[in-house]
Amino acid sequence: MDGENRERTGGGGPERVGFFTDTSVCIGCKACEVACKEWNMVPEDGLNFTAMSFDNSGGLGADTWRHVAFVEQREPLGFQEPGVGRPGAVDLGMPSFELPGAASGADERGEFRWLMSSDVCKHCTSAACLDVCPTGALFRTEFDTVVVQEDICNGCGYCVPACPYGVIDRRGDDGRAWKCTLCYDRLGDGLEPACAKACPTDSIQFGDLDELRERAEKRVEDLHEAGVSSARLYGEDPSDGVDGAGAFFLLLDEPEVYGLPPDPVVTTRDLPSMWRHAGVAAAALLVGVAATFAGRR
């Protein structure tokens, strides 16, 4: 389970690749969602209006491998002016039928921020979905990504509750589990994943994980220097609960605000203890039932 060891593919394989999703430059265009669906031929999963925001896909699932979260907050972007530096910009506020700012007092105007973040499979170093898969359908590729082989998956559904991020899911009409492959087919041809290719602002950056981590550190420093005190990295630490994620993020608020778990731990970390407890329980069952024969009748 040592993160450092697991991160390196042995024998001179390709470097570990991943995503750095910088949500501070995400504009919520959903080009990543569309590009992912098109390239991977992911079926349509309902053209819904969720009524909570401009988010129409809700969360990651069998048919949503990139999900853009829209968080609307009455809060300035880390003590920032929402008008992006232009003096006298007018805040339009949340979408409503009233005149902008009519409902709120003068104090409230200008205090509004929109957080957008494109979520994806984290391709964990210690991946619970892969650990619990009983068929070996989930496997680790030469790029240190985690992929489902759809010709082997028998749809047992065990990976679904095992994932601490709520990424992988079973497709109803198909019966098998699906998730982001980090465009395994494109990587083999030296191409970057479809979502990163389509991202117009480079919010989704693809590359060697080590290089991405350095770039992310620099970016956080720059943002802090500029006064965006709420900027923080999520999932970049190789000593975290999943021994480091292959896809990590720069967030502007706490992870749970974006629907991400604040401190996920791979469930199989406790599995040796679970087996020990089960072994003791099995022995207790045997002894206990044997003891029932001690009586006379």
Partner: protein
Amino acid sequence: MNTSDVTKEGIRGERPGREAITGAADVVGEEQRRRRGGRGRRGEATRVPDAEFRSYYGKPIINQIVWEAPDVGGYLFLGGLAGASSVLAAGAELTGRPDLARPLKYAALGAISGSTAALIHDLGRPERFLNMLRVFKPTSPMSVGSWTLMAYGPLAGVAAVTSATGWFPRIGRAATLGAAAVGPLVATYTAPLVCDTAVPSWHDGYRYMPFVFAASAVSAAGGMGLATAPLAQSGPARRAAVGGALVETAVSSAMEYRMGLSGEPYRRGRAGAFVRTAKALTLAGAAGAVLGRRSRTASALSGAALLAGSACTRLGVFHAGKQSAADPKYTVVPQRRRLAEREAEGEAASAPPARGPGD
């Protein structure tokens, strides 16, 4: 004059791209900041007023369990019944209680067949069930369980068939003992199976769940013995039923209490109803088994109550898992608490020592 945008300092008018700092800093006045601080830092995303946590529009963090309650509830219950029945049957056979051993062997075969059928029925691609046997993975309790079923099923089958026909008594005896050896694992491996997930109400109970499942299995097998065996031979089944029922009730209550927040779903909604029904049926069955020990009818009814109680226990666990997966509170709050504890520890470690190095 040079009109090129390329200068010695770089490209003129170049966009900052991903280096862009999104907005100008420190333009909010000190007074405005203070006012905002007084109003609290809650964002629009916080929709649950009674708990101290934030979420994405109250949507769950983890994906909902895709298993069906009748399938997986049945799979857990029948597996437990089969495993413990085999152990009880072997004991009955070795101590000369054939009328207790025989029905328990039938019950074990029937239950394990039902358990396997439920497992296969719950697959998204049932025709690919044999892919379970492609690999053996100790990291996957379902893989270990599939192989355990492969070892146990034939043993239980041979034990039942030889018992029914009277053929090959030695092979039958060996199969009976073999099934009794594997039986405890069949009854308990399902606990790591459900606990080895990110579902809070399952994972957090992993120290107790194997004991709940083992005791529930013994209670069910004892109940089956009471329901099927004559009074003269059902003594061990009665003791197993009562002991299993009491341990099951005690350990599951302890589990629900000790789990803290993750134990809450066991008291609420459908899970709460199943858990309460399970305890009522199990305790009633245990009381009936003791008080009605001279009546065949009372014993049979007590046995049926214990079987139903065991099934309700498993359904309670299943629904508690679903309820805890559906509410982000159960995922976020304990993780936040863990982070806060780690932070406090880190601060304590980095703080200068209170006493000098001399002591």
